[in-house]
């Protein structure tokens, strides 16, 4: 193989103008982080709500939650992003479709919402499992003290369920960050897309993707450490895993 290694490439000016190849990576990283954080907020919010619905006694609400989960969980993320990005503007009324297509940063919003909803189905399953793992008597104890059902969830069920599912939520956090790379297919200039752009401009494919790999490793390691710290902070003496 006649490959010309050039680790100094990152300090060369990029043909896009206005900065170096390293700057391209940084701008990609920014977008990756922004998409991941916002998608994770949606995933946690929607996931918690749907997870709670799935645990309620009402069979219709449970069915609704299950439908949501199965739809979003069983269709590949790539297909979902294509549906949101390419298909949705064509099936809504024309004026809305035009508005969607003219939206600046449409790939960004699509990635945030698409990834957020996709991950929310996974979070919902975790939350529902966490709730189901609690002793049945906890609900009875909350109600017996005069709490309403929402209060019982708020003060008794959810604080404990979240503690139970914190470790699996760590992997879902990391999955969200990793899955954000799929958004390059709808034209979002996130980290993986920027690494590919560097490769196309400079032909330094190994350097570009080595850099991307190391950056992904670094942010996921940081995310893991932060979640571990959170787990430690939330740990209750005499309860749960030591």
């Amino acid at each position: 193989m006649n490959y010309h290694w050039n680790w100094g490439i990152f300090w060369d000016a990029s043909p896009e103008g206005g900065g170096t190849y390293a700057d391209m990576l940084v701008s990609g990283l920014r977008i990756t982080l922004a998409v991941s954080v916002l998608a994770w907020v949606i995933a946690l919010g929607m996931g918690s709500a749907v997870g709670v619905l799935r645990s309620l006694p009402n069979p219709w609400l449970r069915r609704l939650a299950n439908t949501y989960i199965e739809l979003l969980r069983n269709v590949p993320l790539l297909v979902q992003l294509f549906l949101w990005y390419f298909v949705l503007p064509e099936v809504v009324p024309e004026a809305w479709g035009d508005w969607l297509k003219s939206l600046r940063d449409a790939p960004f919003y699509t990635a945030v919402i698409g990834l957020g909803l996709f991950m929310s189905a996974r979070v919902a399953v975790q939350i529902a499992t966490g709730i189901a793992a609690l002793p049945r008597g906890q609900m009875a104890a909350g109600l017996a003290l005069g709490f309403t059902l929402p209060q019982t969830y708020r003060y008794v069920i959810l604080p404990n369920a979240f503690r139970v599912v914190l470790p699996p939520l760590t992997s879902e956090t990391i999955n969200t960050i990793k899955n954000s790379s799929v958004a390059l297919t709808i034209g979002l200039a996130e980290l993986t897309a920027r690494a590919r752009a560097i490769q196309e401009f400079s032909f330094q494919v190994f350097e570009a993707f080595t850099a991307a790999t190391l950056i992904y490793l670094a942010i996921n390691t940081i995310a893991t450490v932060l979640m571990r710290l959170l787990e430690r902070r939330m740990r209750v003496p005499g309860y749960g895993a030591k």
Binding site: P135, A140, A144, V236, G238, Y239
Partner: protein, 247 residues
Amino acid sequence: MTDTIIALEHVDKWYGPSFQVLKDCTLAVPKGEVVVVCGPSGSGKSTLIKCVNALEPFQKGEIVVDGIRLHEKGVNLPKLRARVGMVFQHFELFPHLSVLENLDLAQIKVLGRGKQAARAKSVALLQRVELSAHADKFPGQLSGGQQQRVAIARALAMDPVVMLFDEPTSALDPEMVSEVLDVMVQLAQEGMTMMVVTHEMGFARKVAHRVVFMDRGEIVVDARKDAFFGDVGNERAKQFLSKILQH
């Protein structure tokens, strides 16, 4: 009868379409009385007591708690339950809260008590069940007997008009039974109205006014304590008593 705290009137309950767990149960608990409910396992006694604060639904009949009819339309169940203390077989303390926080929570969120007033009440109640030294511990750090005493204090913090006990000592190691029963005896002697599902016949002899014996979903005996332990008159109850009193 204004002084009846709990009245069950011909209560029927089914699990599913065909399995009847409660059959025509009628029972009254007057203010200040201690009623012990006993019977073989599966006789429906735990189900019965859970119906009293509507933790379990029942299909026919009526239950009146402190003047409130459970089957009446628009009945405010949370408000009713806040006035009925309940102690569970498995304690059911909230594991993520300290002992004091367990006592504070419903006082603040349900009764709307101020934080300081709630805390003062919690501290006093913990002293009463002799657990002041454990106030800042978490439930998982306490023994079963200690947890159950905290659970009793938590129920008392709501100033209940009646206390329900659902097999409060059944999940305890033998050496911890008496510390819980002592608290219950003291409570009974202070005049608290109590409905207690238990096999602790020593407790029944000591403080019960009446003993109710259930079998296969029916209340077969409802007698004053002396009558019950003298000559109960019912063959099934006699057999049951002879079995649990042997030891």
